[in-house]
C-alpha cells in the first residue's frame, strides 16, 4: 500500500475543527499526524466520542507503521523498538534507535550480577550534546533452574532501573520470575517463543501483558508461522529473532534474513514479519575465546547488524571502547538525514570576550563546528570563534581539498570585522591545518598560532599561550 496522503487521513478525523488538540483545524492535525508528531489518540473527540470508534480504529490502522512499534518496560526508562517505515536512512529519518542490551547470567554470583548491572546502567558518555547509554539488561536463565533465575531477576531488578529481557526457552523458568509482581509489572521482553513452547509463552505474555520474542532459526517460513500463530492467540507485541549466526556462511544467512524480513514488512506488507528484529551479537562468545579479540568481533558483528536494520541487540561485552563505538554508530545512523552538513559561516562568541581575547578559527562542517563549540563552552573558555566556509567539510578534508585556504581565512577576517573587535593580530588555527600557517600569515598579515590537534585540548592550550608574552 502506498503511504497515506493528507486526505486519506483527514477522512477519518471528525472534521469539526474543534481545536481541542491544540491545532487550528483538522487538516493541520492531519498533516502533523503524517509527520508522526501526533498519534490518532491525540485527537480528543476521536477518543471520547463513541460514534468515532470506527474512525479511530481505521485511522490507527492507516497510520500504523509497517513495522510495529513495541514498547519494553514502562515509565521513564521504557524503550520503544521498531516502528520503521523505510528501508534506507535517506528516505526518511529512522525512528526508534537500536536498543542495546547487555546480558547477565543467573549462574553468576549475586555480587557479579549486581556489578554487571551497575556497569550497564553506569555506561554514560556525552557526545555532541547527546548522552550515549545502554537500554536494557538481558537476564539469561543459564542454570535452567526456576528458583535460581527468579533470584537473579530479583537482584537485577534491585540493582538496575533499565527494563529487562527475560531469557529462557523454558516457560516454567520465565513463569518463576514473573511471579513477582514488581517483575511482571515492569513489562519485560520475554525471550523466546519457539514452535515447541509457544502455547505456554503466549499464556505468559498475555497474562502479564509482556512483549514476546518469536524465535525460529531455520527459515523465515517457520518464523512467520510462529508469529501468525502468536498473533492469532492474542499477543500483538512481537519481536523477531531469526537466529543470530555470527560466523562463516551463517553470518551471511543471518544478515540476508534481516534484509528479507525488513523488505517483506515494508515492500510486501507481510503481516507475519512486520515486527522489530532482534539480533544477538553475544552469540560470538559461544565458543569461548578471550578479550579483546572476542569483544572486537562482537562489536563489528553488532555494527553490521545495526547497519542491516536490527532494532534491538543483545551484547555480552561491557568494554567501554566497544560500547562507545556502537552507541556512536547508533547516534550516527539514527540522526536526521535532512540535517544540513554545514552551519552558517561567520563569527561566534563564547563568554564575554574583550579586545584582549583569543581568536580561533574552525570550519563550517556541522559536526566539526558543534564539537568545537561544545568543547569551548564546556571548558568555560572566553574567546572568539571564526567559522570558515569550507563548503561543509571538516578541517582535514578541507585542507586536503583546498576549501580551507588563506584567502577563505582572509575574507572571513574581513567580513566579520574581527580586527575591530580585538587589539591583537593573532589567529589560532587547528593543528590539522598547520601547513597553511605561512600562507595565511602572508595573505592576512596576522600572526598564526598553530593550535591543539583536538578541541578538547583548547583550554590547556590557551592556559599555556594566552595572554601572549610581551616581547
Amino acid at each position: 500500500m502506498a503511504k497515506p496522503t493528507l486526505l486519506d487521513v483527514y477522512k477519518f478525523l471528525p472534521q469539526t475543527n474543534c481545536g481541542e488538540c491544540g491545532e487550528v483545524n483538522c487538516m493541520s492535525f492531519a498533516s502533523k499526524l503524517l509527520e508522526r508528531k501526533y498519534k490518532p489518540t491525540d485527537c480528543p473527540p476521536l477518543v471520547k466520542d463513541e460514534k468515532y470508534k470506527d474512525k479511530l480504529q481505521a485511522l490507527n490502522k492507516l497510520v500504523s507503521p509497517p513495522v510495529r512499534a513495541v514498547v519494553i518496560g514502562n515509565g521513564s526508562k521504557a524503550v520503544t523498538i521498531g516502528g520503521k517505515e523505510v528501508l534506507y536512512r535517506h528516505e526518511l529519518t529512522l525512528h526508534n534507535p537500536t536498543a542495546l542490551a547487555v546480558d547477565v547470567s543467573d549462574l553468576d554470583a549475586p555480587e557479579t550480577i549486581e556489578d554487571r548491572c551497575k556497569k550497564i546502567e553506569g555506561f554514560k558518555i556525552v557526545r555532541i550534546g547527546d548522552e550515549l547509554k545502554l537500554n536494557l539488561v538481558a537476564v539469561r536463565a543459564a542454570s535452567g533452574d526456576p528458583n535460581r533465575f527468579e533470584k537473579a531477576v530479583e537482584i537485577v531488578k534491585k540493582s538496575c532501573s533499565y527494563p529487562m529481557i527475560l531469557c529462557s526457552f523454558d516457560p516454567t523458568v520465565l513463569a518463576a520470575a514473573l511471579r513477582k509482581p514488581e517483575v511482571a509489572d515492569s513489562r519485560p521482553l520475554l525471550y523466546a517463543a519457539t514452535k515447541d513452547n509457544w502455547r505456554e509463552m503466549v499464556v505468559l505474555a498475555k497474562k502479564y501483558n509482556c512483549p514476546l520474542v518469536a524465535f525460529a532459526q531455520d527459515n523465515l517460513a517457520d518464523l512467520k508461522s510462529l508469529t501468525l500463530t502468536i498473533k492469532k492467540a492474542g499477543v500483538e507485541d512481537i519481536v523477531l529473532d531469526p537466529g543470530s549466526y555470527t560466523e562463516g556462511s551463517g553470518l551471511k544467512e543471518t544478515l540476508n534474513k534481516f534484509v528479507m524480513v525488513r523488505r517483506a514488512a515494508i515492500k510486501a506488507e507481510d503481516e507475519g514479519l512486520g515486527y522489530p528484529i532482534l539480533g544477538v551479537p553475544a552469540v560470538t562468545w559461544l565458543d569461548g575465546g578471550e578479550d579483546p579479540v572476542k569483544t572486537y568481533e562482537e562489536t563489528y558483528i553488532a555494527a553490521v547488524m545495526m547497519a542491516r536494520s536490527a532494532d534491538i541487540l543483545i551484547l555480552h561485552t561491557l568494554q567501554p571502547y566497544a560500547l562507545l563505538a556502537l552507541t556512536t554508530l547508533r547516534q550516527n545512523i539514527y540522526s536526521d538525514p535532512r540535517k544540513p552538513v554545514a552551519v552558517e559561516p561567520g563569527l561566534r562568541t563564547f563568554g564575554q570576550p574583550t579586545e584582549e581575547s583569543p581568536v580561533l578559527v574552525t570550519t563550517n562542517f556541522a559536526l566539526t563546528y558543534y564539537t568545537v563549540a561544545n568543547d569551548i563552552e564546556a571548558q568555560g573558555n572566553t574567546c572568539y570563534l571564526l567559522v570558515a566556509n569550507t563548503g561543509g567539510l571538516a578541517v582535514e578534508c578541507s585542507v586536503a581539498g583546498g576549501q580551507f585556504n588563506a584567502s577563505v581565512v582572509k575574507s572571513l577576517l574581513d567580513d566579520t570585522k574581527i580586527g575591530d573587535k580585538v587589539k591583537h593580530r593573532k589567529l589560532i588555527i587547528p593543528q590539522l591545518a598547520a601547513r597553511l600557517k605561512g600562507d595565511i600569515e602572508d595573505t592576512t598579515q596576522w600572526e598564526v598560532i598553530v593550535g591543539p590537534r583536538d578541541s578538547s585540548q583548547i583550554r590547556d592550550f590557551l592556559n599555556k599561550i594566552w595572554p601572549p608574552q610581551k616581547n
Binding site: A176, F215, Q217, E247, G248, S249, K252, V283, D454, S456
Partner: protein
C-alpha cells in the same frame, strides 16, 4: 542418584508447570518431607487461583501452528555497477603478480538472496612517501619502516595482508616538502618493484600540483592499471584524464559529500572520453562519530541509483576508512574509554564495515586489524567458512 536439591527443583518445575499456568503434573522419584511440600505449595496455590481464566481463553485460540510460506520480495534492478580491474599482469602489459577486481554489483552489497555480486570489496593500506605524524596505535605498527616507502609497502602486503598498496605522495605538497616531481617518482618505481600487488597513487591534495604529480605517475606506471587518486572539479582534471587514458589507468572522482556534485564530476570525466570502467567515485568518507552517516547514506543512494540505471553513478565506490583516525575517540588517551591500542583500530574497523554494508567497494585502511577483520567479514558475507554454532544455546552456554 539425584540430590535432594535437584529433586526439589525438579518438583517445583513440574508443580509450576501445572499450577502456575499449563500442562499436566507428573510426579516421579520425588522425595520430599511434608514440611518442604507445605512451604513450596503455598505461593503456587495462590497463583492457581488467578490462572483459570487465562487457560480458558487460550483454549479458544489456535492449538496448532498456523501454516505459512515465505517468498522474499525481490527488486528488479535494470542497471549494474561496472567492474574494474586494478593492476595488470605481465600478459596484460603490466608487471603485477596479483590483480584485484571490484564492482560489478547487480544488487545492494551482500544481498545474496537477490542476486550474486561478482566481487568482494578490496582493502588497500596507506603508505606515505615521507614520515608524517601518525596516531600512536598506527605508528606502533609501522614505526620500523616509516622512512622507506618500499619497505612500508612490503610490510603492509607481506605481514598485514593488504591486497593493494595506496602510496600517498604527500611530500610533493608545496606547503610541506615541495619535493620535485621527478624525485617523488622514485618512490612510485620503488614501491612497484617492492610489491607485486596493484597500487593506488595519491597526490598531496594540492589542486595546482596534483595534476602534474598524477600525470607523471601515470607515465611512470605505464600499463600497470594503477588508480590515480584523485581528481576534483577545481583542478586540471583533464590533464589527469588524458594521462590515465594514455597509460591505461583508473581515476578517482572525488567530491565533497554531495550526490549531485559527484554525478556532475563523473559526467565531466565521461565527457573527456574516460570509460566508465576507468572511474572510481569517492563521495568523501567521514569518520564514525564525525559524519559517518553522510557517507553511509551517500553510498547507499549512489549504489541504488547506479543499480536503478543512472549511468553517471555506476562506478565502484572508494572509501577512506583511515579517516577514522581523525576522530579523537581513535587516538586520544582517555581512561574512561578504554585502551586506545584497541579502541583506535576498532574505530577504524566500525567505520569500514558500516560503509561496506552501505556500498563501498574499495577501502583505504591504516591499521592491520581492520584489514584482517574486514576481509574475514567479506569472506563470511560471500558464504565462505562453515558455521557450527548452535545459536539457540546462547541463553545457557554463553562463556
Amino acid at each position: 542418584m539425584k540430590s535432594k536439591e535437584d529433586s526439589v527443583n525438579e518438583f517445583i518445575k513440574k508443580m509450576m508447570n501445572l499450577l502456575q499456568d499449563f500442562g499436566e503434573i507428573e510426579i516421579e522419584n520425588v522425595e520430599l518431607t511434608t514440611e518442604e511440600l507445605r512451604l513450596m505449595i503455598q505461593p503456587v496455590v495462590q497463583a492457581a487461583a488467578r490462572r483459570s481464566e487465562v487457560v480458558q481463553k487460550v483454549e479458544e485460540k489456535p492449538l496448532e501452528l498456523v501454516k505459512a510460506t515465505f517468498t522474499p520480495y525481490l527488486e528488479k534492478f535494470s542497471g549494474q555497477i561496472v567492474e574494474i580491474q586494478i593492476g595488470a599482469t605481465k600478459s596484460e602489459g603490466g608487471t603485477r603478480g596479483k590483480v584485484v577486481k571490484i564492482g560489478g554489483e547487480r544488487t545492494m552489497p551482500f544481498y545474496s538472496f537477490e542476486a550474486s555480486n561478482p566481487n568482494k570489496p578490496a582493502f588497500a593500506m596507506d603508505v606515505f612517501d615521507m614520515p608524517i605524524s601518525l596516531t600512536k596505535p598506527v605508528k606502533q605498527m609501522v614505526e620500523d619502516v616509516m622512512y622507506d616507502p618500499a619497505e612500508w609497502a612490503k610490510k603492509c602486503v607481506n605481514k598485514y595482508g593488504a591486497q593493494i598498496v595506496s602510496l600517498n605522495l604527500v611530500s610533493t605538497d608545496p606547503l610541506l616538502e615541495d619535493r620535485p616531481i621527478q624525485q617523488a617518482m622514485k618512490n612510485v618505481e620503488n614501491v612497484l618493484q617492492a610489491v607485486d600487488v596493484p597500487i593506488i597513487i595519491g597526490g598531496s591534495g594540492n589542486p595546482q600540483k596534483d595534476p602534474l604529480v598524477l600525470s607523471a605517475a601515470a607515465e611512470v606506471a605505464h600499463g600497470e592499471k594503477v588508480i590515480l587518486n584523485s581528481v576534483t572539479v577545481d583542478m586540471d582534471y583533464k590533464k589527469v584524464v588524458k594521462a590515465a587514458k594514455e597509460h591505461g589507468h583508473t581515476v578517482v572522482s572525488f567530491t565533497p559529500m554531495d550526490v549531485n556534485n559527484q554525478k556532475r564530476l563523473n559526467r565531466l570525466l565521461l565527457d573527456e572520453g574516460l570509460p566508465k570502467n576507468q572511474i572510481i567515485q569517492d563521495p568523501t568518507t567521514a569518520a564514525l562519530g564525525y559524519g559517518l552517516e553522510y557517507a553511509f547514506s551517500l553510498e547507499e543512494r549512489i549504489k541504488l541509483a547506479g543499480l536503478m540505471g543512472d549511468e553517471d553513478l555506476q562506478m565502484p565506490i572508494l572509501a577512506a576508512a583511515s579517516n577514522a583516525w581523525g576522530a579523537r575517540e581513535s587516538w586520544m588517551k582517555v581512561d574512561e574509554w578504554g585502551p586506545r591500542e584497541i579502541r583506535g583500530p576498532l574505530w577504524e574497523t566500525v567505520t569500514c564495515v558500516s560503509l561496506m554494508m552501505a556500498g563501498a567497494d574499495l577501502f583505504m585502511i591504516s591499521h592491520p586489524a581492520t584489514v584482517r577483520v574486514a576481509k574475514k567479514l567479506a569472506d563470511s558475507l560471500f558464504g565462505e567458512g562453515s558455521c557450527e554454532q548452535k545459536v539457540e544455546s546462547w541463553v545457557t552456554s554463553l562463556k
